[in-house]
Symmetry: D2
Subunit: 343 residues, 4 copies
Amino acid sequence: MMIVMKPGATQAQLDHVLEHIHANSLTPHLSVGEDHTVIGAVGDTHAIAIELFEVLDGVAAVKRISQPFKLASRTLQPFDSVFPINGLSVGGEEILLVAGPCSVESRSQLLETAQAVKEAGANALRGGIFKPRTSPYSFQGLGEQGLELIAEARALTGLPLVVEITSINQVEVLSKNVDVLQVGARNMQNFALLSEVGRTQMPVLLKRGMSATIEELLMAAEYILAGGNPRVILCERGIRTFETATRNTTDINAVPVLKSLTHLPVLLDPSHSTGHWEYVGAVARAAVAAGADGLIVEVHPDPEHALSDGRQSLRPEKFAELVRQVGQIAGVMGRKLTPVTKL
Amino acid sequence: MMIVMKPGATQAQLDHVLEHIHANSLTPHLSVGEDHTVIGAVGDTHAIAIELFEVLDGVAAVKRISQPFKLASRTLQPFDSVFPINGLSVGGEEILLVAGPCSVESRSQLLETAQAVKEAGANALRGGIFKPRTSPYSFQGLGEQGLELIAEARALTGLPLVVEITSINQVEVLSKNVDVLQVGARNMQNFALLSEVGRTQMPVLLKRGMSATIEELLMAAEYILAGGNPRVILCERGIRTFETATRNTTDINAVPVLKSLTHLPVLLDPSHSTGHWEYVGAVARAAVAAGADGLIVEVHPDPEHALSDGRQSLRPEKFAELVRQVGQIAGVMGRKLTPVTKL
Amino acid sequence: MMIVMKPGATQAQLDHVLEHIHANSLTPHLSVGEDHTVIGAVGDTHAIAIELFEVLDGVAAVKRISQPFKLASRTLQPFDSVFPINGLSVGGEEILLVAGPCSVESRSQLLETAQAVKEAGANALRGGIFKPRTSPYSFQGLGEQGLELIAEARALTGLPLVVEITSINQVEVLSKNVDVLQVGARNMQNFALLSEVGRTQMPVLLKRGMSATIEELLMAAEYILAGGNPRVILCERGIRTFETATRNTTDINAVPVLKSLTHLPVLLDPSHSTGHWEYVGAVARAAVAAGADGLIVEVHPDPEHALSDGRQSLRPEKFAELVRQVGQIAGVMGRKLTPVTKL
Amino acid sequence: MMIVMKPGATQAQLDHVLEHIHANSLTPHLSVGEDHTVIGAVGDTHAIAIELFEVLDGVAAVKRISQPFKLASRTLQPFDSVFPINGLSVGGEEILLVAGPCSVESRSQLLETAQAVKEAGANALRGGIFKPRTSPYSFQGLGEQGLELIAEARALTGLPLVVEITSINQVEVLSKNVDVLQVGARNMQNFALLSEVGRTQMPVLLKRGMSATIEELLMAAEYILAGGNPRVILCERGIRTFETATRNTTDINAVPVLKSLTHLPVLLDPSHSTGHWEYVGAVARAAVAAGADGLIVEVHPDPEHALSDGRQSLRPEKFAELVRQVGQIAGVMGRKLTPVTKL
């Protein structure tokens, strides 16, 4: 941590800063310049809020030099985290393909989609039963009534289930019934929820908030890791910008940036990051070319009648085409698609 | 709702759209142009997701014409909502001043600040005991241990308490102990929490999410209103943009825009919207000049030792100066500050 | 400038950085920590690009501590710049009100507006004859044919003219015919144009680019100042964000931030920063309450028939109301409106 | 164009809107709903500013249905534009690779880089002699003194030259000496410059402004096309967002969106869109996987001593690796790299 004193800061102010540094078990290193005195505060700083120093009298600016996350960092763990999801693995050489409807709507819709995405090459099934919706008047998901349906879909296809959790009181029931807990973009900084899923040993698919920085995404992951759960999968799903031609702006840079900063697996969701099924294939290919460890894609057998996100859902045949293309890109990257689960 | 068909859309596609319109209890009005056929779908559309129409074959675009919120709108209620907060009122002629520390840290810090902000002219006391923090390693608030302290501060000063709620399992205890539940920016789309506070009759201070549009803020309010709780106070607290000179960008436009769209009271938080105490006074004056119904300001007797947000906290004497200036601006606006509570 | 070396940087890499520091006439100060060595490079750094150090082997990060602008800074000149505009002055105690149509469209439109804004209290007349338009098919302004009209308007009312310059080949003709050259948001980083107006002694109204940071605005001003022209007036006109309820987002924070960083006068344009005439009054009041030195407002006698920006233009009677309100706010701020020019 | 009247709009207001529609040679189609009357205005609307209708009394909103660009659109020309650049072609099956230094700095730097990028597989050489720089104190390029150097580099390697133009008075000299005029991000809405290059027949590489929407980029292209120059190459180079981990945010969505809206070739600049050479390869692969027609990449033989953009410049050997990877991705896409020019 570098603490830059204001021009004209007094010795008393400097001493006061030095006391704070010692009080935080850090070691100070002074650099006295013509205009500015700069103090390097050295030690384990990841858990120290820089604002505690910014407010001291005579301080002009404080710059963090080391990363504020630790468990998520490659500094702590240089090699990639690879962990199992009900027989599959994520984070290794293989590219994971999660697919399915935005919401579970009915038995036939879910089972039909589950079969179709499996045939097309998906490795895991997504499908929300608790849906966070902007409007209180929109379809909010089937809730616990959907549990039986997803269990049936898993039994039928053997695909592990990735299901969104929207409240701390769903942890128990979902942990028993699904394979991966998804924390959605709107809950990325719902710290009560992060802490709660951190107390489980369930794999967690953590989506980036729509205006979260990459560092904030890693700090959200840190909440889960610090709770004792090492199974965190990060997911870029587009950020909010001024551009309105697409629903969000896919931050493709985030893929190599995350892969360089963290050992955690990185997925990309081209459905939400574009919002238009026409662009999903192009962005899915781009994601794998940029180094993503997998994709999560919305597929619906009849997007016209989807109760949510129909606009960005692929028909199964389009998804099958995406799988073929992505498989070829994976080959160029020296990787391969995760083999389809056999029952 | 306007549904624009693609050039070359077939009669079958058109008929299919018309069926959907009827199925949603709307009445279609056709306008056949050279390139495009446009269908106006008329009726009570606020509860209908436009995406249900966007996915139909042959549809080029769907534009919502009426607002997607209803209970929050001036269309439903043209006059300003005014409601009581433990003896005060918000939303009327008087400007409400909420002040206090970011976090409750200790008995002496809280009581000292409470007395100081009251003397300086504050009408209500803020102070978090459950703190949403970006880092799991930062101070997370005193939790329920802080309840006694805030009760003592209220008893001492007579100031109503505005306290942030961060989880659905705090609703009961906070409803008993505080006067206003604050839903913070990071939880603005925590729909489980919105629904839960919507089931109470507690006044709710709802802060705008850092990348939420004004419409999304109103939709979040709609969740609370639709739950049966009409006591929602909106709060602009700065949005996230590319500018880094300040912590957030105060969206001052939001004040007149909200006042024109909704009957709910509108506060502004110049502490978070700037992030630097030096700019808080200027933005506080601007807020009242733009038509805000009140302010929520961070004040700390000793910002140097604040455990959070010290950088943006005013010392009590600076806050007293702000109150004087804001009072004069209120006068120009034909309003006045809420008189200070007497015990 | 602080240069942070990577953990494990070699002595050779360090020496190489030190050479660069000396080569730039700076003095290095070393601070050797456990993980990182940090070098403070002290001296006149405003003209040194930090990227020259970022690329050196072994360097982890470079942080600029002093400001990259010099002539525009309060460090160089602590007191406010005040300078004359054809008999008026800007930057002092008085609030300057510039008003007029977006574009000069016809003799009657211009003269009628000029008279009306003068009667309502404007001190200077705006009106574009070269218009930067998003579409090549939109009205592009009268061009040099408009020169006679604006000359007539000035003669009739005595109001100084503020006219946009869009190309380096207009410098000569505009310098002869107008009182203030306006550099628009889209040209804020048209460095050829900035350099050219920097070679004149004309007052320049420099509008912030729609995605320019405050620092970039000051660097654009620095181009003009470094060219030898000290008469720069800055103008906040709204920035581009994700919010679509208004045309731009007024960055009201920019007013106190600019006033603290620079001695140059700061105006605000509530017409462009909101895009809707209904919100112009509220934001104009907010600007003056936040400390702006003046306003530039679009006024049109018949917004319905304006060839550009009618949506955000005030009718003269609404502008007169704005002047009254802003005058009262100015009073609270210990300032007053610039008296209306007498012929 | 859809014009939505306010609830309660009068017949006179409606008639007035209808007059305007006729005056613009459009045909109105009325749709009378319960709350709103909606008028479809049908005809050639691309050249009509919707603001002309927004300001009419009684109008609630105006929605453009057709695109505001025409010459750039696939509606006008469904097939891809392919055009020659000094013996090469752009926009067809082959992927174009432009590479070279940010700025031309010296004879040895330029010639060495030119040879190296050619050997590595580049098809064209970039290198600025007029540099738009944020600071007036930064290196501004060699100016016309650089012309001889770039001529020598072209003669030596046979690579066509892509050189930035920053002012209308450079059109003549650059048109004679280079093969492609580059209009940089900061000048994307310098309409005087767009018009001027539109009067030439030179290929123009038009970079997206850092906060320009995709539609605004296409409108900027439309200026050049409308001037009579059909040779426009679009270039995504990253947009400005809140994310600070990278210099800009690569809008990878823009690639498929542009390819669907326009027939013009689309390049991507991974150097500026990331700002860190470490991420350039990943984003270059992503661009081609998403459907880009080529890349423009900064390469410097000695980034440590680059006078600008060293941080994001690849060393020639890293560029050669990028070329190999991109070539494989091109193969998956059914395309191939443009063969290297032979002298």
